[in-house]
Symmetry: C3
Subunit: 210 residues, 3 copies
Amino acid sequence: DDIMAYARNVVEKEIEKHAADGLARVDYALGSGGAAVVKHSEPYVVGKGNWWTSMRNGVHSDADKMLRPSFGEPGQCFPLKGSSGFVQIKLRTAIIPEAITLEHVSKSVAYDRTSAPKDCRISAWLRRVHDQDLEVHTEKRFLLAEFTYDLEKSNAQTVTVLDSAVSNIVDTVRLDFTSNHGSPSHTCIYRLRVHGHEPEAVSVMAMHLS
Amino acid sequence: DDIMAYARNVVEKEIEKHAADGLARVDYALGSGGAAVVKHSEPYVVGKGNWWTSMRNGVHSDADKMLRPSFGEPGQCFPLKGSSGFVQIKLRTAIIPEAITLEHVSKSVAYDRTSAPKDCRISAWLRRVHDQDLEVHTEKRFLLAEFTYDLEKSNAQTVTVLDSAVSNIVDTVRLDFTSNHGSPSHTCIYRLRVHGHEPEAVSVMAMHLS
Amino acid sequence: DDIMAYARNVVEKEIEKHAADGLARVDYALGSGGAAVVKHSEPYVVGKGNWWTSMRNGVHSDADKMLRPSFGEPGQCFPLKGSSGFVQIKLRTAIIPEAITLEHVSKSVAYDRTSAPKDCRISAWLRRVHDQDLEVHTEKRFLLAEFTYDLEKSNAQTVTVLDSAVSNIVDTVRLDFTSNHGSPSHTCIYRLRVHGHEPEAVSVMAMHLS
Ligand SMILES: [K+]
Ligand SMILES: [K+]
Ligand SMILES: [K+]
């Protein structure tokens, strides 16, 4: 009886986690939550038509696919040209980042996984919106994580932020990938999530005063 | 062995229920099933642009979000201005209502849950479409349920219809909320579902003849 | 302890399968993977408006709904007029087909299941795109499967390809249904999936040379 109650409990917990976006962690890079892709390397577009006709303010219309759940569907990704490139994301709000999740399509339904990113680097900073002229000079960039996306592990892979970056407030995150898993033509980003917490009012003030 | 078979059985049942819209109950307020929001209090819209440009026949284009699954995504809701308001829904067809489910976003992925509705009241009636001039006079309204949405419970909360309303046929349901969980600016409705069954042909006839 | 570890393992495996499109099998008919409906019998459209205004190149705008996940939602289907009809699908790429899955909406959330297809027949062939004038003469059609969709079984029903069709390469699949589960007006196709594998480069060459 105890075992059966335990089994049912495990099931309910796991399904709850699955239903809560798979990880049950808040994602500050979620598109429907207000985050947006603001800059990226050249997109990869198949078929006729010029990719720049799908651009708006320098961002391709497919870019936001990487800020939305894929629900296990192949194709629900943002494809970038070549085996290296980058994507820059404005978060929903300024946060203290704790972890990053990079997700590709599940092995069991993928047609081909050579387009998965491999060597990745995540950096972040806080834009100084009130000092736009000085932006480049005043914002301080942090390296949040460096990792390799592993095709043998679970398709959503979470890395913890480096100690050196802990407790900094950021509102912009950038993924640079320097290699992929074999495709010479393109690299697909299915989803990038940014986990963390919002700073307490007092620490925001401290930061502004310092 | 029995225990293992039992465990597997529990898992399969629970996943089936999860896959069947989370509750495995028919929803007569589902948008893709033909239901629609027909009236609501003032919507809450952030950013520039006037909200009335997104209105069509008095209904905001975001209204139908509350008649669609959210799949655990924050932001997939219909936001209304202030801490009180209402939404009126034309069901897919006339039914005998049995229960109502009000759903907010899951605690584990929410940025903020102060916008969840709190004190709620559900009423319902049958529109007299053939007597449009007399509509207000001939339709009888029923109170289906009064309840408080509880942030500590599961995010989809189901209440049974009051005894006083049992076995009445209705095709329109209205949610009035008189408070929320703290947000002064807006209240988000993620999803409202209406469960019940369609009347037998004979009882529909009886009703029309009576 | 062993039992508990086993229970947890079962749960994780089943949720992984559920998250991987329910079956954890590659689907070469998936719309977001590049497949498309290319031909079908007369669509069923409710309400005013003429159905042919929603046609483009002879294909209704709702047709691709049958090449997308339904996520348990009633209404996410392609409705065809009457109790018999057909749909023809160009696959993402040429494959050696192994199995077909026909899916209807889950019993527990359905308003009505009389519109489910019943007696079905799946055939397939390889289009000869380089010999368009001769197309009809040169392509060889294979019967992949004949089966009856059973309302009592799981809502996604998979049938294995007939021995007679095994190891043929095809890129087009056609579903013919000759009956449904009772609706006189229409038949709904929620989803058709085509499972199999891509031919090795060597066998493709062998085929072209032979
Ligand atoms: K995605
Ligand atoms: K929703
Ligand atoms: K579908």
